[in-house]
């Protein structure tokens, strides 16, 4: 323990620095690898499937004699499930965030926050399992739908899944609104709700929007839960009580059955490309929001 260490030479020192720099570059490398490999495996699909048919085709039917690779039903499934989840989850989550940061008794806060952290830690396959076993019966009983597993079922379970993300990020945004704003509002005679709705929430709005964006991003990318909850029928429908299949689910299910290198294999990677594109767009929007947010506030 009490030995003398050798001092690193300048060469060692700069070697270490380059090593660390190299490691830091790994995130760029991974991103590049994702882009390269998705393009490499996804683009060949369009040698066989016309791009227009891929994007505007209304039928996804890969087992047929003449397979059809139209992703509209899948896109539709993703939008239906995500849209449903957002509609249910966002208002509830924002209210919940307001409750935690503005209304709740400190003791209640101490209980709720860890609970939400724990909910965020539950794996998606568990949520999927819940949707498949318990939630599906409930939704069917309440709506009388024909399909036991349907888009609504997926949307509801997704709503629960994305809530912790939306709640904790909105809460951060709400909490970071300066105390002076609240005091100013109270000073001119506003009550608690008026202060929240007219002063605190507008000030936190950009941050809350970022939270919603991240929620959307998580919902679109979610695979296992929707896979187990929605029934996996690639139907082009806007009926929330119908079975649907999302873009993520189709990859997870069908990748197990494809021949590597086949058109089907490449088509699944092409769907991956679309998912990656969506990720970029959402990230871009969130960054733009944040930048505007920072630009406005002093």
């Amino acid at each position: 323990m009490r030995a003398i260490r050798r001092r690193p030479t300048r060469t060692v020192e700069s070697m270490i620095e380059y090593l660390i720099l190299g490691c830091a570059c790994i995130s760029i490398m991974i991103l590049l690898l994702i882009i390269i490999f998705l393009f490499k495996e996804g683009l060949p699909a369009f040698a066989h499937i016309p791009l227009s048919e891929f994007i505007f085709g209304t039928v996804w039917q890969v087992q047929a004699v003449e397979p059809r690779y139209g992703i509209l039903p899948l896109l539709c499934g993703s939008i239906l499930v995500t849209g449903g989840a957002i509609t249910v989850s966002v208002p509830l989550s924002i209210m919940c965030a307001l409750y935690i940061s503005e209304v709740a008794h400190p003791l209640a806060r101490e209980v709720i926050k860890p609970l939400i952290e724990l909910l965020a830690g539950i794996p998606s396959v568990v949520y999927g399992f819940l949707a498949l076993t318990a939630l599906a019966d409930l939704t069917q009983r309440f709506t009388g739908s024909i399909h036991r597993l349907n888009a609504l079922n997926g949307a509801l379970i997704l709503a629960v899944m994305i809530a912790p993300t939306v709640i904790s990020i909105s809460e951060d945004a709400i909490k970071s609104v300066p105390k002076e704003y609240r005091e100013a509002a109270y000073a001119i005679g506003a009550d608690k709700w008026e202060t929240m709705s007219r002063v605190v929430f507008p000030a936190a709005f950009p941050g809350v929007m970022v939270a919603v964006m991240l929620g959307i991003s998580r919902a679109i990318g979610e695979t296992m839960a929707v896979l187990m909850a929605t029934g996996n029928a690639p139907l082009l429908t806007f009926d929330i009580l119908s079975s649907v299949q999302t873009m993520t689910a189709v990859i997870a299910i069908e990748m197990g059955e494809v021949t590597f290198g086949s058109v089907h294999y490449h088509a699944l990677f092409a769907i991956g490309l679309i998912l990656l594109g969506i990720t970029f767009i959402i990230n871009f929007l969130a960054e733009a929001l944040l930048r505007r947010f920072r630009g406005v506030s002093p």
């Binding site: 009490r2 003398i4 260490r5 050798r6 001092r7």
Partner: protein, 253 residues
């Protein structure tokens, strides 16, 4: 070495971004003396001494012009080994900042990273440094106790001991007593006086009595410029500048 000056500073300008903190400063620091740097807050005292061990290099937007000669060699010369410079010029900070390790490990930190052995065992270095910092008697039975269990004044002396352990030539103290009570301050002050036997000591302070008590030379800085510099007694009894006089008599600061 022909010059009796340990440190010569010529035409020094230091700025952070667009803000100039030190404007064209010249000063020569005598070897084996205590030199006090005084002045109101924000006059550039800390910046000045952080220039002497190039600690300002840590601040990305800091830029330095002019020369700082240590034993006649410019420390801002590209060939200067900054690490070696900082070994030769030790520093003690405003707030005691021991590492959250044992007392022993705090002192051993410097010798370890430099690989100083020099025939001395680490134990000897630790004992010698603690003795020099007048802390040995208080802690010799509990060298493995956490440094943070010491009182504020003891922590600051530990930090001095830690700086001494790498055998520096110059010791910079940046308002070392501002976080301490009067009793602890008195101990540090007498320590500073005893240190000048072996080291060149530069202490930043905004406390005039302290400067008067411990220093041989006093420099008075105002808005980044050297207003007054000379033997401490002369500066206090017969200041040549109105500004210094105002400061000493407590009319501002």
């Amino acid at each position: 070495m022909s010059s009796e000056y340990k440190i010569e500073i010529r035409n020094l300008q230091v700025g952070f971004g667009k803000l100039m903190v030190i404007k064209n400063l010249n000063i020569n620091i005598m070897s084996n003396c205590v030199t006090a740097v005084m002045g109101p807050s924000g006059c550039g005292k800390s910046t000045l001494i952080r220039t002497i061990n190039r600690l300002n290099d840590l601040v990305p937007e800091c830029h330095v012009k002019g020369q700082v000669l240590l034993d006649g060699r410019d420390i801002y010369d590209p060939s200067m080994d900054v690490v070696e410079l900082r070994r030769r010029v030790g520093m003690v900070f405003q707030k005691p900042n021991p590492f959250p390790k044992s007392i022993y490990e705090n002192i051993a930190f410097g010798p370890r990273i430099h690989g100083i052995a020099g025939g001395n065992s680490l134990d000897e270095i630790v004992e010698r440094s603690l003795r020099a910092a007048a802390l040995w008697d208080e802690v010799k039975d509990r060298l493995d106790a956490p440094a943070l269990s010491l009182s504020g004044g003891q922590q600051q002396r530990l930090c001095i001991a830690r700086a001494l352990a790498v055998q520096p030539e110059v010791i910079l103290l940046d308002e070392p007593c501002s976080a301490l009570d009067p009793a602890a301050t008195a101990k540090i002050e007498s320590l500073m006086v005893s240190l000048k036997k072996d080291y060149t000591v530069i202490v930043v302070t905004h406390n005039m009595q302290q400067a008067a008590r411990v220093s041989d030379f006093t420099a008075f800085l105002y808005l980044g410029e050297l207003v007054e510099y000379g033997e401490t007694r002369r500066v206090f009894e017969n200041p040549s500048s109105k500004l210094t006089e105002d400061f000493i008599t407590g009319r501002f600061g």
